[in-house]
């Protein structure tokens, strides 16, 4: 699974999932905290439709954390002030980079969580779709 997909599931998913995965690793392996969870900013790059060139629309507050397991680094970055989750994300990342045995059983849980996230997003899409509108013009209208 690509990092982008994995971190999307972990960030959007229940906090308990990332916490339990990180705990599994903590039980059996030494974790070195390279960077304490700390707040920082990420600059948002956007593209405007006129020039199709990038510009910066603002910054996002994030919490980032860095750890090592067996000399392999792991990083956790998440929006908002969330030191615990940033740490859990970093531990999971490092564990995957080391290819620890515990990570082999995570696939099914991650896919299940991804499905739950999809359902939540679908729910929001359904609620938004209830407001679909078709305004009638009172005179002829050419599309």
């Amino acid at each position: 699974m690509k990092k982008k997909r994995l971190t999307r599931i972990l960030v959007e998913g229940r906090d308990e999932l990332a916490e339990s995965m990180a705990e599994e690793i903590e039980k059996n392996h030494a974790i070195y905290l390279d960077k304490q969870p700390q707040k920082s900013l990420v600059m948002l790059k956007n593209k405007d439709s006129v020039s199709n060139q990038p510009f910066y629309a603002g910054e996002v507050l994030v919490t980032e954390c860095g750890v090592s397991i067996d000399d392999k680094k792991g990083i956790g970055v998440i929006m908002g002030e969330r030191p615990e989750k940033a740490y859990h994300l970093a531990v999971i990342d490092a564990a995957l980079n080391v290819r620890l045995k515990e990570t082999e059983s995570w696939g099914a849980r991650l896919l299940e969580e991804e499905e739950a996230i999809h359902k939540r997003h679908q729910g929001e899409a359904v609620r938004a779709a209830r407001t679909k509108v078709n305004f009638d013009t009172m005179e002829d209208y050419d599309d």
């Binding site: 690509k2 990092k3 982008k4 971190t7 999307r8 960030v11 959007e12 707040k39 920082s40 900013l41 990420v42 600059m43 948002l44 790059k45 956007n46 593209k47 405007d48 439709s49 006129v50 020039s51 199709n52 060139q53 990038p54 510009f55 910066y56 629309a57 603002g58 910054e59 996002v60 507050l61 994030v62 980032e64 680094k73 990083i75 970055v77 998440i78 929006m79 908002g80 002030e81 980079n97 359902k119 997003h121 679908q122 729910g123 929001e124 899409a125 359904v126 609620r127 938004a128 779709a129 407001t131 679909k132 509108v133 078709n134 305004f135 013009t137 209208y141 599309d143």
Partner: protein, 372 residues
Amino acid sequence: MGYVAVTGGQEAIEQADKLSKYYRTSEITSLLDPQMIEKQMRLLIDRIMGEGGMYAPEYAAIALKQAEGDPLEATFLMRAYRSTLPRHFYSHAVDTSSMRVIRRISASFKDIPGGQMLGPTNDYTHRLLQFSLRHENEEALQRFATDYGLVDEEEQERITFPKIVDLLREQGLVANTKKDEEVVPCDITRQKLTFPASRSARLQTLARGETGAMTSLAYSSMRGFGVIHPTVGELRVGYTEVTIPYPFGENDDDGIYLGEVMMTEVESINSFDENEDEEDLQFAIGYGLTLGQNEVKGIAMSILDRSLETTGDQVSQDEEYVLTHIDSVESYGFVSHLKLPHYITFQSKLDRIRQAQQKQSGKGAEEYAETT
């Protein structure tokens, strides 16, 4: 005349701080939890984050509580706080065409692929003061949220929608501006804004501009003090994914996901422009993008963006005027500083007026003596 610093007043300042706290708290019946502000003043939070240039709903709520509801002061607090934080990452370019849309309207086209969705809006409701809000019942509201939130799990709806401007571009009605080389954008938080400004600097300045100031300038353009009076081609509100490159990897396509940011994007359609290369007539587009749901600012931004592409003598066409007067921290700070002691500055004015008066009265006495 330069500025002359003052000193002292420490005890009075400390007492004034306590008095402010007293005024904020002495007549309260229950404490205002910042979470209440964050969840129930959604649009104000979005405005503060946009103008503060920092997406952090929880902190915007604290800033508003601290500022006792003053949006300019709250924005100032957000900007001041952000300046204390390091920045370690730049995001991948956020793709608004894959936005998880909750609202999408077009004032130009009745039928758009995917349809129009009003989403959360009060645009079409009567502006009647709802006195019933005085007596809202928490249990009843929770019941409403649960009941309304229920959806049939079998029901499937589209989450992303194509952008109207891309469809117009396909039909040759908008200039195709796809460029192979990406220009590194200017960052006005680190580089001084100079004129003429690059397009990226202009858009960044507009994106964190003050809603009221931008609305006024855009309004002036539409009223005739300018040449731009567009139609909204598309206004969309939704969640965009934020990702950054993975620092320990070599795969540029991959990255790590940080979360979603709600944004409002506006593409407004203006009169025709002649395409210089192909001599075709094409629509000129104005672009607006804000953090959170801030639709009027998004539209105003698209008007000002387009207006600054035109030449003329109107205020809304003057890049330096527009960009240097829409920043709330700059304008609020400068007007606000007039409250601080200016004793020496004023003393010099006082001296000058007295000297002038003396000169006049002396001259008057001489003239009187000449007549007698």
